[in-house]
């Protein structure tokens, strides 16, 4: 009389199998789909402007129709990329084309999983014109490029024209010393107003870039000269660290909660009127235009201030790359070239202006970039420096960036009054040595 139980067990087992098997055709990466059509998968970073996301999807669909392939476009938030790449590489079910920041191109190049795309780049350049040299440099290893530049983003200085004027300043700060001076003058804690909105949360990527920009412009470094010997522990790095520490601890020009800010922290501070000057990409300008036209009018945009050694702008450039495990490499290359065809590309890039700036030198001369507020974004590209400076960008520099070692050091420096910049830089140097394997 155990049939009832047996039946239930059988049903349960079948359900297990069904749950396992019904997804049999769910895999999308590689392979061929219905009717023998090959399938291409594109992982694209989710853009702030919805129009840009839609355009990518439409463009990819069009590519599919013209070339008789299925194209899957998957729009993924940047934060979510790392675990996805990892899982995809490990299971060998990689997308054919994927977005990468230049740090990741370096990291993955180091693991030997990316295709050489120098050929695509030269083809694109002969068809559409020159691609900004700086963006190619960041992904060049042994003379070959492992990613095709797709767009750049730039951190610029946002400043409140009205507040600066009221404090008697006629122009935005041209040097870091001027920036410090102005930040101090603009700070008015009784009104909850702070001169400088510089966040140092653990995950904060803005801060990692900004700090490097300052250190470089003082002649310091958090990397190597030749790719092996870390040269962080120098008087110049200490000088830059002291400079940042003074803004926080001596002048108190920064909101006290800034040490906990994630990437959205300085956006919020500026949008709410808490901070008079911040460093950010074009995302703040976009939010301002949409939600706060009044503040938009009062906002001025300028490139990074310069230090004793000149102006150093940490570059943020974005790429499309192809995994070695892709099953349709040739089609994948054509898709990349299709997405970078300058006629369509111009429309797409301008939909995202000024957050996304073009990689074709010619396109940055378009009228949209002559706009007073947009100018600084394309002008900065020429002055881009990348992680690893003064050495070439290398995977270890990317690792140091991802681990937020510089942020860690600064959090500690800005929290503990007894911790000296000298000691902090020494400790930072030791941590970096460890990463570089020394």
């Amino acid at each position: 009389m155990k049939t009832w139980i047996k039946k239930s067990v059988a049903v349960s087992l079948l359900t297990v199998l069904a749950a396992g098997c019904s997804g049999g055709n769910g895999g999308t990466a590689g392979g061929t789909g219905d009717g023998g059509k090959p399938t291409l998968t594109l992982w694209m970073k989710k853009q702030l402007f919805e129009d840009q996301n839609t355009m990518i999807a439409e463009r990819a669909k069009q590519f599919g129709e013209e070339n008789n392939v299925n194209v899957n476009v998957e729009i993924i938030a940047y934060e979510d990329f790392y675990p996805k790449w990892t899982a995809a590489i490990e299971s060998k079910s990689v997308p054919d084309v994927s977005f990468f920041g230049y740090q990741e191109i370096g990291q993955f190049y180091g693991k030997g999983v990316l295709e050489d795309l120098s050929g695509s780049i030269s083809e694109l350049e002969s068809a559409n014109g020159e691609i900004v040299a700086n963006t190619k440099k960041a992904v060049t290893f042994d003379g070959k490029q492992y990613g095709v530049p797709f767009w750049t983003e730039t951190q610029v200085l946002y400043y409140r024209k009205d507040l600066l004027e009221a404090a008697g300043f006629t122009a935005p700060p041209a040097t870091w010393e001027e920036f410090r001076e102005m930040a101090k003058a603009l700070t008015d804690t009784s009104k909850g107003l702070y001169g400088a909105g510089m966040g140092y949360g653990k995950g904060n990527s803005d801060a990692e870039f900004l700090t490097r920009g300052i250190i470089w412009s003082y002649g310091g470094s958090v990397d190597t000269e030749d790719g092996s010997d870390v040269i962080a522990d120098s008087p110049e790095t200490v000088q830059a660290a002291s400079f940042i520490r003074d803004i926080f601890m001596t002048d108190k020009s920064v909101p006290p909660s800034a040490l906990g800010w994630d990437d959205s922290g300085n956006n919020k501070a500026y949008l709410s009127g808490q901070a008079a000057m911040i460093f950010n990409t074009g995302s703040v300008l976009a939010s301002l235009k949409k939600d706060n036209p009044d503040l938009y009018e009062k906002t001025g945009i300028a490139p990074y201030p310069a230090g004793p050694k000149g102006q150093f702008i940490p570059g943020i450039s974005n790429y499309l790359g192809i995994f070695k495990d892709s099953k349709n490499k040739e089609l994948a290359q054509s898709l990349i070239e299709y997405l970078l065809d300058d006629e369509w590309y111009k429309t797409w890039i301008e939909k995202g202006a000024p957050l996304t700036a073009p990689v074709y030198a010619e396109l940055s001369k378009e009228p949209i970039w002559q706009d007073e507020k947009n100018k600084a974004f394309v002008e900065s590209v020429e002055g881009f420096y990348f992680l690893g400076h003064p050495g070439e960008y290398n995977p270890k520099a990317g690792e140091a960036f991802n681990l937020r070692i510089v942020n860690d050091m600064f959090q500690k420096l800005l929290l503990e009054p007894s911790y000296t910049p000298e000691a902090a830089v020494k400790e930072l140097d030791a941590k970096l040595q460890e990463i570089y394997g020394n």
Binding site: I89, P255, S257, K268, E399, N402, L415
Partner: protein, 290 residues
């Protein structure tokens, strides 16, 4: 009667669960365990390196900091969840109006997805437009806005608070369930004896909910120890690694740094203390001999 063994029937009944766990948990775990003895990084073949991952971790001060933070986070969170859960259970066990309604309302924090509660609290903690600073300033508890996630101690407090907020209801309902099994007669008898409220609580209430409280606390401990989302989304383990726990450290090393072997080794090192804890509990509850 009780000595009869039903081996066949028992294994038949358990077979679906056992098959599933074997295929989807035990085998993957074995593989993961192997990886923890290798230098596996993403995209590269694994090379067996013995205990070197573990040895490296034991020497790493950050690992010990994360271990300490994990213990602090778990102990504090479980303690407060148990205490407030007990209060919630006791209050709901009283004859109050709209008891069912209140029960559901108090249960709500547990029902909503973790990620939702994290976003909400992040917004409450925010220094700009955040309501917590605003309220405390209004009430003159603080004289300037606090950066709830900006200093190590305060950040630890803030992440614990979110975890406790979410976790109280589970403890509360479990304890309430235990309380409702106490017979009213015994209580009344004790009242006649003139036992005071505190005495009654210590000698009668507490012993009778001890089992259920310990069980629920163990469950909660496991959940809390493996908690990843709250800390990752609120602080990423910062500031200055003040809230770096083992789960966030493992994620950072495994996915941002791509050292899978080492990341898995970290996760595996959290298991022995849990196994000890579980052995302690199972000894209590599975005593019926075999």
């Amino acid at each position: 009667m009780r000595t009869k063994y039903d081996n066949k029937l028992a294994y038949l009944l358990m077979s679906p669960v056992l098959v599933y766990l074997l295929a989807v948990m035990v085998l993957p775990f074995g593989w993961a365990l192997y990886l923890s003895f290798t230098n596996k990084v993403v995209g590269m073949p694994a090379v067996f390196t013995g205990l070197s991952n573990y040895a490296e971790l034991v020497r790493d001060s950050l690992f010990w900091k994360a271990t300490w933070n994990t213990i602090l986070f778990t102990a504090a969170a479980v303690f407060f969840k148990t205490v407030f859960g007990m209060v919630m259970g006791l209050v709901l066990n009283e004859k109050i109006v709209f008891r069912n309604l209140f029960r559901v309302l108090l249960f709500l924090p547990w029902t909503i997805p973790t990620i939702v509660s994290v976003f909400t609290w992040q917004w409450i903690y925010s220094d700009v437009g955040g309501v917590l600073n605003f309220l405390l300033l209004k009430l003159h508890v603080i004289d300037r806005p606090l950066g709830w996630l900006a200093t190590p101690d305060l950040a630890m407090f803030s992440v614990i608070l979110v975890n406790v907020w979410r976790g109280i209801p589970f403890m509360g309902i479990a304890i309430l369930a235990g309380l409702q099994t106490i017979s009213k007669d015994i209580y009344e008898a004790a009242m006649l004896d003139g036992a005071g409220a505190i005495k009654r609580f210590i000698h009668m209430t507490l012993p009778s909910v001890k089992e259920v409280t310990i069980m629920a606390a163990v469950m909660t401990t496991i959940w809390t120890l493996n908690d990843f989302e709250i800390i990752w989304l609120l602080t990423r383990g910062g500031p200055s690694n003040g809230t770096q726990v083992l789960s966030t450290l493992s994620y950072t090393i495994g996915f941002l740094n791509m050292s899978l072997g080492k990341a898995i080794a970290i996760a595996i090192m959290t298991m022995p203390p849990l196994i000890l804890l579980i052995n302690y509990v199972t000894k209590r509850s599975l005593t019926s001999g075999d």
